[in-house]
């Protein structure tokens, strides 16, 4: 009994130690450099590959790779921050916009790096064996490579803690974390120390990756799970709290070790999220305190709609005219119009970035797959809606009372949580994995259902824009404090809107499900769907009912072309597309149309072209001469105000 407990404790220390290392690194990147780096795990993955190939090709022991890798990862992260992320974040003075930009650009980076790894090293898991002999400790045995993890995690955590506490640079970083507005007033170079913090975070990820690779296989898709766990650790420990993060990492390590020892690894994800939810509901400032920041702000515009209604009407005749190929393409387009519009219905005006489209889409599809055989199709649809309402209400209650970051983290992992829950249910209750669908629903039926869904969500959006609720959402998106001050129940408004958005995405999955003949948890909850939905909505413009659909067609065509011509580079190229959208068309195609129109109205074409050229060069407004037409603000006006200073607590 005691021996088993000791085993459990050592196992928890290994996993917890890795989580502590990456959580500290991510904490530095987020707390100081203000980048919520969703591609963090990809740095860990790259370091794992470096260790693997170093060992395989050069016979270099991983510890040597770690030593060489620290400066390399530090330098690469520094370059990434200095030349990519920092200019992007400097582009706007609006902290909410900055937050959204950092999330979206690192989400693109995630797919880009994952894609590069897939192209270079294939999808198979690579394993090597190093220092896997074991040593006896207190009667139990532990392998050397795991012992090294424990020692390294403890000493590095203590090192970072001491660095932040006792050195001038560490003190400067803590000052920036507390207030990046006032830090420059006491002579702190925010840009320099932010870059330093970001680079240090990258180096810690690299060390963790090398250590991890000595006893866990490396694969191109391994990173996201570590990013998610690190984010959860940060929230549990309190943002900016290194010691709290360490304890939280150990708790998470224990939970996951326990479920692994019980032989139920899927349970680990479920337990992790259960702990995360409890922390969010009970102590959102973290178990050990810390600061919560972030406001979410945004802007909006409404386009003309008569033309698009005519187009929608014309779409009624497509099944009568189209052959099977065109009908299939139309189904694909309508599915993504429903997904992207449904996504933007919530995320556009509120600026809460949801990465959970595939979770809701999958819930809808899976409900039909499981229920349609024994019950009727309408019953399955109703069940899908009911399940989605419960799930979305739960996510909303846990996260939407708080700032946007918690919501992003939760939705980032939601698809894998739901997939794990489904696996667990199939294994323990249903005793069946994978479902065959035999349904007599024709593609034409599906087409009309999807068309109705798209028309319904767009109509709902347009109606919303004209009622009190539209005004409330605009106010909420711009300044939640003001919204509450004038009597708007913002929490109820956010949760209600999120539920509607989730139901639309789930219905898209449920309606499309009969197209498939077989479904399991692996193919139903495909993260690529979340990714595509977000890029399409952003490319089109997430702030109006018509925007998202503008992004669907070009991206589906690109996707179609890429997946035939360059299947191997698919992920890389899509990652680049998302980065490009975030950098060059921040308000979407519809925003480009509006700003173009506004600029032509007030200025001549030469000015407009110059402005466009300036934006494409990615000019820094501080260094370069001011652009003749600044990036359009919400109202299309060309003047940009600095954001107001933080409120004085006196």
């Amino acid at each position: 009994m005691l021996l088993a407990f000791l085993d459990f404790l050592l196992g928890s220390l290994v996993i917890g130690g890795i989580y502590a290392l990456i959580a500290i690194g991510l904490n530095l990147q987020y707390g100081v450099a203000r980048v919520l780096n969703l591609a963090y795990g990809e740095f860990l993955m790259l370091a794992g590959y470096a260790a693997f190939f170093g060992f395989l090709l050069l016979g270099a022991p991983p510890l040597l790779t770690a030593l060489a890798g620290i400066p390399a990862a530090f330098g690469l992260s520094w370059l990434l921050f200095r030349f990519v992320l920092h200019p992007l974040l400097q582009r706007t003075g609006d902290p909410g916009k900055r937050e959204v930009d950092s999330i979206l650009s690192t989400f693109g980076l995630l797919f880009l790096l994952q894609g590069v790894a897939l192209v270079a090293w294939e999808g198979t898991e690579r394993v090597y064996s190093y220092l896997s002999d074991s040593i006896a400790i207190f009667g139990t045995r532990i392998q050397y490579n795991r012992l090294i993890v424990i020692i390294a995690a403890l000493s590095l955590s203590a090192g970072v803690f001491a660095f932040l506490r006792y050195t001038t640079a560490g003190r400067a970083m803590r000052a920036i974390a507390v207030s990046s507005h006032t830090a420059p007033l006491v002579g702190i170079d925010v840009g320099r120390y932010s870059a330093l913090a970001f680079a240090t975070g990258g180096a810690l990820a690299a060390i963790a990756g090398v250590l991890l690779s000595s006893f866990v296989g490396v694969s191109p898709t391994m990173g996201a799970a570590y990013t998610l766990n690190a984010l959860i650790v940060i929230v549990m420990g309190g943002i900016g709290n290194v010691a709290g993060g360490f304890v939280a990492a150990l708790i998470l390590g224990m939970a996951q070790t326990l479920s692994a020892q019980l032989g139920q690894s899927g349970l680990g994800t479920i337990i992790t999220f259960a702990i995360f939810s409890i922390v969010l509901l009970w102590r959102p400032q973290g178990l050990f305190g810390g600061s919560t920041r972030l406001t979410v702000q945004g802007g909006f515009r409404l386009p003309k709609e008569a033309l698009a209604i005519a187009a929608l009407a014309a779409l009624l005749f497509v099944p009568l005219l189209a052959n099977a190929y065109w009908l299939a393409l139309a189904l694909n387009i309508l599915t993504y119009v429903a997904l992207a519009t449904g996504w933007a219905f919530f995320s556009g005006p509120t600026r809460y970035v949801s990465l959970a489209a595939s979770a809701f889409f999958g819930v809808g599809a899976y409900s039909v797959a499981v229920l349609a055989a024994d019950y009727s199709y309408p019953v399955a649809l109703l069940a899908a809606v009911a399940l989605t309402i419960v799930l979305a209400a739960f996510v909303g209650l846990a996260t939407l009372r708080l700032s946007g970051m918690y919501f992003v983290i939760f939705t980032f992992g939601l698809a894998s949580l739901v997939a794990a829950a489904v696996n667990w249910w199939e294994f323990n209750v249903a005793k069946q994995a994978g479902w065959y669908l035999f349904m007599s629903i024709t593609p034409t039926h599906i087409y009309y259902q999807l068309l109705f869904l798209c028309a319904a969500i767009i109509a709902l959006w347009l109606i919303r824009d004209r009622t009190r609720m539209g005004f409330a959402l605009k106010t909420l998106g711009a300044d939640e404090t003001v919204a509450r001050q004038i009597g708007i129940n913002t929490v109820a408004l956010k949760i209600g809107t999120f539920i509607v958005s989730a139901v639309v995405m789930a219905l898209a999955g449920a309606i499309l499900a009969p197209r498939r003949s077989y479904m399991d948890a692996g193919n139903a909850f495909n993260p690529e769907i979340s990714f595509l939905t977000v890029i399409m909505a952003l490319l089109g413009g997430a702030n109006s009912a018509w925007g998202p659909m503008l992004g669907v067609v070009p991206l589906l065509l690109i996707q179609d072309y890429l997946s035939i011509q360059y299947a191997r580079y698919f992920s890389v190229l899509l990652g680049l597309v998302l980065l490009g959208v975030v950098f060059f068309i921040p308000n979407g195609l519809i925003g480009l149309i509006h700003s173009g129109r506004a600029a032509v109205r007030t200025r001549n074409l030469a000015d407009l072209l110059e402005a466009l050229a300036h934006r494409l060069r990615g000019g820094n407004p501080g260094a370069a001469p001011p652009p003749p037409v600044a990036p359009p603000t919400a109202n299309g006006s060309a003047v940009q105000r600095p954001s107001p200073p933080p409120p004085n607590p006196s």
């Binding site: 009190r468 005004f471 409330a472 509450r484 001050q485 004038i486 708007i488």
Partner: protein, 245 residues
């Protein structure tokens, strides 16, 4: 005097600290219906924190707030707004996403009245005229002057149809002409029967508008009474001007 015996707003030994700093430390006072109360004190004495706790933006850590005889301590900002307390921010916050008219109209749609869009806009138009806004109703935040922002903020607070109006340095930063207009406006609101609590540094405005004042220093009440009494208090003079030699 209103027939009801209880004051409109009662604040009872209210406390709020930030870490070790006691921003508001056991503050008590009462505001009668129809009066204008001034809240004064040096920078950092806790005036804005006090308003933030009363309006629900910050939860208190001790004490109680009663409005119309009912406890509202620690309620959400939206429920306090609907109970009848509205206010302006120390630094005007006018979302760019809406134009001048709609920034006011949205408060009439929510707040206590819950008007539909058309009537809310009509009401907003009326209120913007009431506060002397003469700019373009379709203009957005960045095209408006500082005083316009202040006027929109006030009109937005009035659109909530409050019984109690909290003004946080609403007159600060106005030029002499604007200041006189601002004082006349606040006076006319009082004459209409609105109860007002104003945080202000402009002593001229305090003396000409307030029925009584409460002086805060380091989170505590150091004097209270009519403006002439309270501002002449030796403790208040010491806080503002330093020790007399």
């Amino acid at each position: 005097m209103h027939p009801s015996a209880r004051p409109l707003l009662e604040v009872v030994s209210l406390s709020r600290h930030f870490g070790g700093l006691a921003a508001v430390d056991g503050v008590s006072f009462a505001v009668e219906r129809g009066e204008v109360m001034g809240l004064v004190g040096p920078n950092g004495s806790g005036k804005t924190t006090l308003l933030n706790v009363v309006s629900g933006r910050l939860p208190p850590m001790g004490g109680a707030v009663r409005f119309n005889g009912r406890p509202v301590t620690g309620h959400t900002p939206e429920s306090i707004s609907r109970a009848g307390i509205a206010g302006t921010f120390q630094l005007a916050r006018i979302p760019d996403a809406l134009d001048a008219l709609d920034n006011v109209a949205v408060a009439a749609m929510y707040g206590r009245r819950r008007l539909d869009v058309a009537s809310a806009r009509a009401e907003a138009d009326r209120l913007l005229g009431r506060v002397g806004f003469a700019g373009n109703l379709a203009a957005h935040g960045d095209a408006l002057t500082y005083f316009d922002h202040k006027r929109i903020e006030l009109a937005r607070a009035l659109a909530c149809a409050p019984e109690l109006l909290l003004l946080d340095e609403w007159l600060a930063g106005l030029n002499p002409t604007e200041l006189e207009a601002g004082i006349a406006l606040v006076r006319s609101l009082r004459d209409e029967g609105l109860t007002i609590v104003m945080v202000e540094h402009v002593m001229h405005a305090i003396r000409s508008l307030c029925d009584h004042v409460v002086v805060l220093n380091a989170g505590r009440v150091i004097a209270a009474g009519t403006p002439d009494e309270a501002l002449a208090d030796p403790g208040v003079v010491r806080v503002y001007l330093g020790e007399s030699v």
